[in-house]
Amino acid sequence: MKLLKLLVVAIVFTATSCVDKKAQEEDAKLEEAVQEIEKIAQDIESSSKEISEEIKDVEADLQQLDSIIKN
């Protein structure tokens, strides 16, 4: 009887630690993915900043073209 109790405790302990480990692995994976998307988001942010600045520059040029078209 004692042995059976010990066995049950051992099984429960192993199962719990397995579940914990899996959860931790999933969390780690998710965090890694989040970090990756964070990195890409920053990259996109800086690119769109550059684009909006260049668009402004282009718009100034296009205004010059407007004057060419009007004249």
Binding site: A23, Q24, E26, D27, A28, K29, L30, E31, A33, V34, Q35, E36, I37, E38, I40, A41, D43, I44, E45, S47, S48, K49, E50, I51, S52, E54, I55, D57, V58, E59, D61, L62, Q64, L65, D66, I68, I69
Partner: protein, 211 residues
């Protein structure tokens, strides 16, 4: 006896004169000492004043530098807030990076919950960027048509001899410059679109894992 009296008188006289001159000399010495002391004190005071002035200058310099730094920081923060939108999420992200505490609470959320919340936020950001990019594409398209129109206009003007060859070349240069800039922007827009695509794929993968 007489000679002794004379000697005593002479000694007394010398003693009197000596004492007098000693007192006078000591008075003179004391006066000089006093003057030196006063001068020393004056110098000390001047030094103190100079030190205080230096201190004040240093403090003013420090304050100015601090104000400048604050202004620069404020400006940077404003830009940051305008551009990134969600500062809080970034701070939380930095916190996570520091802690690296898998499965533990992060700002009241578990690692999993936070990850999904951040993914959701990134999804919204991606949508906004897509909208922005399509607006940029529209601007590029408009620019292209303007370039075409301008080219036709100057060609016609040249044919009708409304403008000289030099004028034509100058205007053509302007048009080419604008065209080059548009090409660059278009290239960047394409690259950013690729990045957005990659981001979307990553987010979809996270969504699938969630299910």
């Amino acid at each position: 006896m007489k000679s002794i009296k004379t000697i005593i008188t002479v000694i007394a006289l010398f003693a009197f004169l000596g004492t007098h001159s000693t007192i006078a000399q000591s008075n003179k010495g004391q006066e000089k000492k006093k003057e030196v002391k006063e001068k020393k004190e004056e110098i000390k005071e001047k030094r103190k004043e100079i030190k205080e002035e230096k201190k004040e200058l240093r403090e003013i310099k420090k304050e100015t530098q601090q104000e400048e730094r604050k202004e620069v920081q404020k400006h940077d923060d404003d830009d940051h807030n305008k551009n990134t939108g969600d500062k809080k999420a970034k701070e939380a992200m930095e916190k996570i990076n520091k802690e690296k505490a898998y499965g533990k609470d992060k700002d009241g959320l578990t690692g999993k919950e936070f990850g999904h919340a951040r993914a959701e936020q990134a999804r919204n950001e991606t949508k906004n960027k897509e909208r922005q990019l399509s607006e940029n594409e529209e601007s590029i398209q408009q620019g292209r048509s303007k370039i075409k129109e301008a080219e036709e206009k100057i060609k016609k003007a040249k044919e009708e001899k409304k403008i000289s060859d030099a004028e034509y070349e100058e205007k053509e240069k302007q048009i080419k410059a604008a065209e080059n800039k548009l090409d660059n922007v278009e290239k960047k827009v394409k690259e950013t679109k690729e990045k957005l695509k990659k981001q979307k794929e990553k987010l979809e993968k996270i969504e699938k894992d969630k299910e």
